[in-house]
Subunit: 159 residues, 2 copies
């Protein structure tokens, strides 16, 4: 099973692929989508949609796991993040894969073991679980964490 | 010039086409998209995207005018509306038409003449401006109002 994890953000959207092996997991690809050419939604949304569609077509994941929006931000940023997350979910739907949402709390619990873990702890655990040679950047790391969370939740139902 | 106006909502998304004539305007089509099959985003977003793409392909508008999200709501509803608005904008981009955002204040000022107009006043004015035989339903009326707002703003630059 291959899972595409996505962490939608108002400035940066992280993504990463997690592949379940018979023992453990591996990560064939991860990255961050940074909006170029200004912050207008009609530029940003096609960028995030197109990049994720590329990843879906290239990596052929079986599912998308996408992080919920964390409410502790200003309303303007929440709304922009909502737009971006809409484009992310649409890319999953158009790519023909089921989309699973996870709360930040579920993700941290699944990866670090408790829900109040710091960002750096998540990065370290993601690096260790996927045996990555380098610490992945923060937003890609969050995306990989969502994918790992989905893997833990669905391991019992693996083909 | 033909303008597709859209009012994205967390439950209902209104849309309407406004066509500028040499004198006045007319409305060849309007409607409301109500989500069916539950409120999960992975069902709702493709519905709104697909319906708007159908309208774009059928009516061939030159521009999309889309209402901004009004902040005076609960955060959960704002975020869902953000997702829907993201799918709306993406449909405009993928349909190859420029997308113009307008605030609710701008729309009411353009249509009724002042920014604190009631919903029913907007409906009545939209019906009068477009010479519609019936009062359009509230969300379609809001969508037509955004299109009329764009028409007023861009009339000087009409081809």
């Amino acid at each position: 099973m291959r899972i595409l994890g996505v962490d939608p953000g108002s400035h940066v959207t992280g993504y990463g692929i997690v592949e379940l092996l018979e023992r453990g997991m591996t990560c064939p690809d991860y990255g961050e989508i940074r909006f170029s050419g200004g912050s207008a939604l009609e530029r940003c949304l096609p960028q995030v949609y197109d990049r994720l569609m590329e990843v879906v077509l290239r990596e052929k994941p079986d599912a998308m796991a996408v992080e919920d929006i964390f409410y502790g931000k200003n309303v303007k940023s929440l709304i922009k993040q909502g737009h971006v997350r809409g484009a992310v979910i649409l890319a999953g739907c158009h790519g023909g894969i089921p989309v699973y949402p996870y709360t930040p709390l579920e993700v941290k619990k699944a990866v670090v073991g408790y829900g109040r873990a710091e960002k750096f702890q998540v990065q370290k655990m993601v690096q260790a679980i996927l045996k990555l040679p380098e610490l992945p950047p923060a937003d890609a790391s969050d995306a990989l964490a969502v994918a790992i969370c989905h893997a833990h939740t669905h391991r019992g139902s693996m083909p």
